[in-house]
Symmetry: C2
DNA sequence: CGTGTCGTTGAGCGCTTTCAACCCTGGTGG
DNA sequence: CCACCAGGGTTGAAAGCGCTCAACGACACG
C-alpha cells in the first residue's frame, strides 16, 4: 500500500472522470478534494481492517476492492466487490461506527480517500449530496438483501441458479453470454459456498444442458429451466439412470 | 388485515407518541399525516408480499412485524423483526423498487402506513428528514452486515454464540440475564438455522456450563468462553469421554 | 378437557465441506 | 524454445454436520 502525493487539482480532475461524481457541481468537487488522498494498492494489499474506525470514505479509481469478513476457519465471506467508479465506507462515517469488513485489493488498484470530516460537513450542507447518498445507500441495502436471499437458498445448486439469474442484465430470455464479474473463488465466497462446490454446481448445470461455460464465460441455454431450478429446487439426482 | 378509518388529527397524535418521530416539528408531522392510514393486523396477517410495489412506508405502532423471504422448501429466512416505533420500506420507496421481502404480523399489530408520494415529497423538501433517514438507512445497512457476519460463521454453534454476544447490551462481563427478543423459531430463521438445530446448540451450551436458560430467559455465565467459542470454534466434541 | 402453539429430543440421511491430487494457463528466465 | 513455477480451477473420496421427519412435552386458552 502506497500513498501517492497528488495535487488537489489533479485529484479534482480524477474525480471528474469517475462515474460516482457524475452530475456534481465543480465547487462541490473542489471542497471534497480538500484533504482527499490517492492510494495505490498492490493485489492483496489490505486497505481497511474489520473494526477500524475509518477516517475516510473510499471511491475506487481503478482495479477492484474486495470487501469481506474473515472467518474463524481461515475462509472469508465476500460482502461486495467494488469496481471502478463505485464507493464504500459511507455508512461507517455517517454512523461513526467501526467498519464491519476488511477491504483489500482484488487486483492492483487505485483508490480515492475522501476525508471523513470534509465528507460529513459537505453531507450536512448539501441537500444534493444528501439526497444522492440516500439513494446510494438505499440501493446498497436492497442489493445486500438480494445477496441474503441468494445465500438463504436451501441448496447450493439453487444458490448458483439464483446468482446466475440475478446476473442477467435486463434483456430477457435471449440466449446470451454472461461474463462472471470476478474470480470464481470470490463468487463462491459471496454465495457462502466453497470454491469446490461452486465449481461442481456449474459442472452439473452444464452436464444437464442448462448452460455452457469456458473459464469465466457462461452461456445460458435454458433460462426457463434455470428459473425452475432456482424456485423449485431439484434433488440433484444422480445421472446414471438412463 | 383491517384498514381503520382514523381522522388525520388522531393519526398525528399517534405519530407524536412514536419514538420514530421524536424531535420532529409539528407541521412536518401534519404534512406526513395526510394520506396516512392506520392498519390493524392479526397475528400472521400478511401486509406486504415480496415483489410488491409498495405505496407506503410503514411504522409499527404496536405488536411486531416480521420481514422475511419465503424459501422454496417452505421455510423462510427472517430479515428483521420490526418492533414498536421502528419502520421499514423506505429503501423501496426511495429507489422505486420491488419489495424484497414479505412483511407479516408476528403478533397482533397496528401499523401506520405513510403514503409514498407524500413521503417522497417531504423527503425532498426537508433537509432534516433526509439527514435523519440517511442515518437510519445507514444504521440498517450496518446492522444487516452484522447479520450476514453471523450467518457466515462456519458452524451453527458459532452462529448462536455470535448471536448471543451481539445481544449483550453494552455493560460488560456482568453475569446478566438476557431476554431473547423473539420466538426461538424466528431467531433460528434469522440465523439461517432450523429451529431444531438452534435448540440443540442452546442445550449444548447449557450442558457445557456456558449459559443457563429457561424459556426465553438466557443467563450467560461465562462470557469469555462464549467469546472464545465464537471466534475460535470448537469441534463440538461428544461429551462421553470423562 | 381438548386444541393449538411453541419447544425439545431422537434417529437417519444427504449435502457440503475438507483434504488431496491434478490440470491448465500465462508469465518468466535460462 | 522450452522448462519451470505460480495462480486459478477442476475433480475425487471420505467424513461430519445440519436438515428432515417424527414423536413427545409444556403451556395457554377457550
Amino acid at each position: 500500500m502506497n500513498l501517492i502525493t497528488v495535487s488537489p487539482g489533479q485529484i479534482q480532475d480524477t474525480m471528474a472522470r469517475l462515474s460516482y461524481f457524475e452530475g456534481w457541481e465543480k465547487d462541490q468537487l473542489a471542497r471534497l478534494a480538500v484533504g482527499a488522498k490517492q492510494i495505490s494498492l498492490a493485489k492483496k494489499d489490505l486497505l481497511v481492517t474489520k473494526g477500524d474506525r475509518i477516517q475516510a470514505m473510499y471511491v475506487v479509481i481503478s482495479g477492484q476492492i474486495r470487501l469481506f469478513i474473515p472467518l474463524s476457519n481461515g475462509a472469508e465471506r465476500v460482502i461486495s466487490l467494488v469496481e471502478k467508479g463505485e464507493s464504500f465506507g459511507e455508512p461507517c462515517l455517517i454512523q461513526s461506527e467501526h467498519c464491519p469488513y476488511n477491504a483489500a485489493a482484488g487486483k492492483d488498484a487505485h483508490v480515492l480517500a475522501i476525508d471523513a470530516m470534509v465528507y460529513r460537513r459537505e453531507l450536512h450542507h448539501s441537500t444534493f449530496l444528501a439526497e444522492r447518498t440516500l439513494g446510494l445507500i438505499s440501493q446498497r441495502l436492497l442489493h445486500t438483501l438480494r445477496d441474503i436471499e441468494i445465500c438463504a437458498q436451501p441448496s447450493s445448486l439453487q444458490r448458483v441458479a439464483h446468482y446466475l439469474l440475478h446476473l442477467q442484465p435486463a434483456g430477457e430470455s435471449v440466449t446470451r453470454e454472461i461474463r462472471l464479474p470476478a474470480l470464481k473463488r470470490d463468487i463462491a465466497a459471496k454465495l457462502g459456498l466453497s470454491q469446490e462446490t461452486f465449481s461442481r454446481m456449474l459442472a452439473f448445470m452444464a452436464q444437464q444442458g442448462f448452460i455452457q461455460f469456458t473459464g469465466s464465460l457462461v452461456q445460458v441455454d435454458d433460462w426457463a429451466r434455470l428459473r425452475g431450478l432456482a424456485s423449485a429446487g431439484c434433488p440433484m439426482e444422480v445421472s446414471d439412470k438412463n
